[in-house]
Symmetry: C2
Subunit: 124 residues, 2 copies
């Protein structure tokens, strides 16, 4: 099967050769290699590079962000931890959740009072 070298692929996709290597380093588009080590870009890679570019421009996303998304796919533990964190509490905070929270809060307060000589305030 015929393939393009990195410079040809660059010309075909609008990326610079430098960026193609960088994108590969991020794990986003990895080209197979020739026996001598040259990157060989086939249709799949070209397509991927093009759609990647669209992703970035249309959604105002950085390469690093896509890299992080990749990390999320590869580390389910991380993804799960994030899910848990987001779901565990409302972003627009409402109020107290349960008694366990209250207990922890009182402990915090005392801890605070021990180190800093401060005082609480009444809410709005």
């Amino acid at each position: 099967m015929a393939t393009l070298t990195i410079n040809e692929a660059a010309a075909a996709t609008g990326w610079s050769p430098r960026m193609l290597r960088y994108v590969e380093q991020l794990g986003l588009v990895e080209a197979p290699r020739s026996s001598g080590g040259y990157r060989l870009y086939g249709p799949a890679q070209l397509q991927r590079l093009r759609t990647l570019r669209e992703l970035l421009t249309e959604h105002d996303v950085e390469l690093g962000d896509v890299g992080f998304a990749l990390r999320l796919r590869r580390e389910p533990a991380l993804s799960q931890a994030l899910d848990g964190w987001f779901d565990a509490a409302p972003l627009r905070p409402s109020a107290v959740r349960d008694d366990a929270d209250w207990l922890a809060f009182e402990q915090d307060k005392h801890q605070t009072l021990l180190t800093h000589t401060s005082h609480t305030r009444s809410s709005a």
Copy 2:
């Protein structure tokens, strides 16, 4: 209900007041305000700040990354686009997928050949 001011919350969670404002700016932990505009940290916020810290240290994640994860939750279109991109092609590329790809590839190649006077190579 009693709450802590930003300095007290900082002392209780280990963040600096500066960072609490920064974290809020990223949309990660937003504290309710007093009528005068003071941030009021309750147990929910303190808990959130603590677990956020754990997230960062235990998974070697940056604040910006969590911010991006938040963006993913708020922009389903973006999340979907990323999903599509990741699923559309294998990261460890294998070969051709279907004839449509081949067609696109030939077009690319010609486009390349038109602009640059280059040539194709045989694969490894």
